[in-house]
């Protein structure tokens, strides 16, 4: 290749190479791009705001309660009535304790303020959700990563172990655990539940690691002298983050539904602790007389789970927009008739 041709080749190829229209990703890191894509997903953004609002509201109203029944650690909230104080309930249209200004969620038959009860239940459920998500996420990531990266017998052993745990339907193990350890406090229950909810994530992470470790940049890093630890943490893990985050989010939604279900059948949160599930279980028969006792816990569960699910969907779209958005029929018609020259 003679040097005199270089400049001509140079000119065309430079133009060729920059012909890729990447306006929207100019100068942005991967993380920033993902954030942008997430904020374009309206339901997810709305859900994020809603969820943050609900959490802040619940915790600020109800306060934070940790520790066991014997050694409670409490930070009080702004709601004037606690869940244990009893006030006379008001008679109203065929039942007692209807919602009113003093008690916006009404009162239960004994006279407790129901808003306080529901907030307390929500507090416990959110806490369980977060703890389960954290522990499950951590365990799932670690096990999946080690399994997928090192393969061989490590993989075989860990996967058999995962299969063990999978064959036990989560509600069964949850019930066994809940019944035994329910009175050790909600956090303990959550920790134990977390120890059994990581299996789906582990499988996904393992899959990701198996694929990613075959990528050429991993080989390049190895040749550059990277140790296994560096490769796992700096090279593979950041690229698997998408799958992990989405999975953990969905795990959160499953966790709250599992915990409330367990509490409903009596094997989750035990009294005197309150959970949205126990509330529903207690008041399901008074549904016709005092419907507010039944509706509010359910509404709260649904809202939280729905928000988490939408956020998860938004995250999934942000990390992996598989199809370039195909235009809707409406837009196609609009565009076709607009640009006709």
């Amino acid at each position: 290749m003679a040097t005199k041709k270089k400049s001509a080749v140079e000119a065309t190829t430079e133009a060729n190479e920059n012909a890729i229209a990447l306006h929207e990703t100019e100068g942005l890191s991967q993380g920033q791009i993902i954030r942008r894509r997430f904020f374009r997903h309206k339901p997810a953004v709305i859900s994020l705001i809603a969820l943050v609002f609900i959490t802040l509201f619940v915790y600020s109203a109800s306060g934070i309660h940790l520790g066991t029944a014997k050694h409670p650690i409490t930070i009080p909230g702004w709601w004037p009535h606690s869940m244990t104080e009893i006030q006379d309930s008001v008679f109203c249209k065929g039942s007692i304790g209807c919602p009113g200004i003093a008690h916006p969620f009404g009162q239960d038959p004994i006279g407790h303020d129901y808003f306080a009860l529901v907030m307390r239940g929500a507090e416990q459920s959110i806490m369980v959700m977060l703890v389960v998500g954290f522990i499950g996420g951590l365990l799932g990531t670690v096990i999946g990563a080690v399994s997928g990266y090192f393969r061989g017998w490590v993989d075989a052993v860990l996967m058999r172990f995962t299969d063990f745990i999978i064959t036990i339907p989560s509600i069964i193990i949850g019930a066994v655990i809940g019944f035994k350890f329910g009175n050790l406090g909600v956090v303990a229950l959550a920790v134990y539940l977390g120890f059994f909810s990581w299996t789906g994530l582990a499988r996904l992470v393992r899959g990701e690691f198996l694929t990613l470790r075959e990528r050429e940049f991993v080989d390049a890093a190895r040749v550059a002298g990277a140790s296994n630890v560096r490769i796992i943490f700096k090279h593979i893990l950041p690229n698997a983050m998408g799958v992990i985050i989405v999975s953990v989010t969905l795990m959160l939604a499953g966790a709250i539904l599992l915990e409330t279900a367990l509490s409903y059948i009596g094997f989750g949160v035990q009294s005197p602790d309150v959970s949205l599930g126990t509330l529903i279980s207690n008041y399901q028969d008074s549904f016709t007389i005092s419907p507010w006792l039944f509706y509010w816990p359910g509404v709260l569960i649904i809202s939280i789970a729905l928000c988490v699910n939408f956020i998860g969907d938004g995250l999934r779209d942000a990390f992996d927009p598989r199809q370039r958005r195909r235009i809707s029929r409406k837009d196609l018609l609009r565009a076709t008739f607009a640009k006709r020259k």
Binding site: P169, I171, I172, V176, I265, S281, Q284, F287, I301
Partner: protein
């Protein structure tokens, strides 16, 4: 192939050993069956405690006790399985054997319904991506994912059961309900149509008006108390199904297949009165129950073979499906007829939709149809509740799977070959899209078992879930292990079946080639 199954079964057994061992010890170590007795003030406390200890072998450490239990379980290979006794002295094996059919009854309908409905809706929304229907269904399925089943069940009990029973009292659909139902029906129908605003509004209007008319007619004729669609209804539905199946499977211009299916529909019409008479006979039993449908299937196969000389496969599929549906319609008709009798029966007293139990305990009339009606009515609400859980998952999964497949190169090749869009979707896309669904079915099955525990609690069914709850509350180790062993076994087998199904559908993963 057999070697593969054998190997998998071996691994399955090992896993079951391991997990049952863990659960056994977990339960044994963390509970004290003697706790109640310890604090009791009974005079023969010591004696009772000793008795209990002997009965439950409490002086043997749990790991060893496990092997005693295991011995009993392994007796299944010699024909004498011994799962031990419950704390009340009943045989665990018997209890479980009685409970399994009940749980299966509970779970089966929901699973099948969820799969069929879920896949259908998923496929439709994938084909109509980004349409109004798609967005609506996406939102609805998210909502369903987030519903706590126990809460929904209570709502169902109230509105579908209690209110419905109340409504049956006077058999009149009130004005607001007619209005509401018409609007909803109109919206649903309009959702399926795409196109200009005018077209959508027209469809909505027709749908709403039609529904309103139908409901008013129903009122006037007191249809609710004595329902039935008659031979006309059965006939129209069968013909509709014949045309529908033909257009999906074989293509509406395939006259021969159309004629064959219509023959089946015709047969259903002709056989209407004979079948109704047959089913009213005294000696009604299961055989007579399936006989008409089987007969229709035979007619279907013959019709397909007679009318169609080539491509018999598609023809037979179409006609047989038509036959199955036609038999189903006849069944619905018969049930309608029985409904009137059922409601009036002693023990039901015009409140047919039950909220608890698997059967009506106080029912005094018993014959095949009344019993069947009773069972169906009892399983209705739990099925709706359980279906809600799984349905959404299938919709999302099948939608995602089909969308992914539609982007594949071979779909473009199929179009380039000149195949119609219908063939491209049904023959090329669906086949590939359904493969990953088998894995979902396995997971879902495990989930449904878990959901059944809640549902049995809400609706008071006495199946495996109830046993399980009793086992935990009473610290009944043997019962718990028995339930656990069976459910784990079923879950694992479901996994194995799913894997086999996967390899059967995907030639790239054929095992033991």
């Amino acid at each position: 192939m057999l070697a593969y199954i054998g190997r998998r079964l071996g691994i399955v057994l090992l896993i079951l050993f391991g997990s049952s061992f863990i659960v056994y010890n977990l339960e044994a170590y963390s509970g004290d069956p003697l706790a109640e007795l310890r604090v009791s003030s009974a005079k023969n406390k010591e004696f009772l405690m000793q008795q209990l200890t002997k009965q439950l072998e409490l002086n043997v450490p749990p790991p060893i006790r496990y092997f005693h239990w295991l011995q009993g379980v392994l007796g299944i290979f010699t024909g004498h399985a011994d799962l031990g006794k419950t704390r009340d002295g009943l045989y665990v094996a018997n209890e479980i054997a009685a409970a399994i059919p009940i749980t299966i009854r509970l779970v089966l309908g929901a699973t099948v319904l969820a799969i069929l409905l879920g896949i259908t809706v998923g496929v439709i929304t994938a084909i109509r991506q980004y349409s109004r229907l798609d967005y609506t269904m996406t939102f609805v399925s998210f909502l369903m994912f987030s519903l706590p089943i126990f809460w929904v069940a209570v709502l169902l009990k109230q509105y579908m059961a209690i209110e419905f029973n109340n409504f049956l009292g006077n058999g009149n659909i009130t004005g607001p309900w007619i209005l509401g139902a018409s609007i909803i029906a109109g919206i649903i129908l309009a959702g399926f149509i795409s196109g200009s605003r005018k077209r959508v509004l027209i469809v909505f209007a027709i749908g709403a008006a039609g529904t309103a008319v139908l409901l008013t007619l129903a009122n006037v004729t007191h249809w609710i108390l004595k329902p039935g669609i008659g031979i006309v209804g059965v006939g129209l539905l069968s013909i509709g199904i014949a045309i529908g199946m033909t257009s999906i499977i074989a293509g509406i211009d395939n006259r021969k297949v159309l004629f064959a299916s219509l023959t089946v529909a015709l047969a259903a019409i002709v056989l209407y009165f004979p079948v109704m008479a047959l089913w009213s006979a005294k000696g009604m039993n299961v055989l007579l129950f399936v006989a008409p449908t089987l007969g229709l299937i035979v007619i279907a196969v013959i019709a397909a073979l007679v009318f169609v000389k080539v491509d018999r496969g598609a023809a037979i599929r179409t006609t047989v499906l038509t036959a199955v549906f036609a038999g189903f319609f006849l069944l619905i008709e018969k049930l309608y007829k029985v409904w009137g009798v059922y409601i009036q029966a002693d023990g039901i007293n015009l409140r047919p939709i039950p909220t608890i139990g698997e059967i009506s305990v106080r029912l005094s009339v018993h014959n095949f149809w009344i019993d069947l009606m009773d069972a169906l009515v009892h399983v209705m609400l739990p099925t709706i509740a359980l279906t809600l859980i799984s349905f959404a998952g299938y919709v999302r999964y099948s939608r995602a799977s089909l969308l992914e497949v539609m982007n594949m190169d071979y779909i473009r090749t199929a179009r380039a070959k000149g195949l119609s869009e219908r063939v491209v979707i049904v023959r090329h896309a669906l086949r590939n899209a359904m493969i990953p669904l088998t894995t979902l079915m396995a997971f879902d099955f495990a989930g449904v078992i878990g959901g059944a525990i809640i549902t049995e609690s809400v609706f008071n069914w006495h199946g495996m879930g109830t046993l399980f709850r009793a086992a935990i509350s009473n610290q009944d180790l043997n019962l718990l292990m028995g339930v656990f062993a069976i459910t784990s076994f079923m879950a694992v087998m479901a996994n194995l079946v799913a894997d086999l199904l996967y390899s059967a559908l995907d030639p790239r993963i054929r095992v033991g080639k």
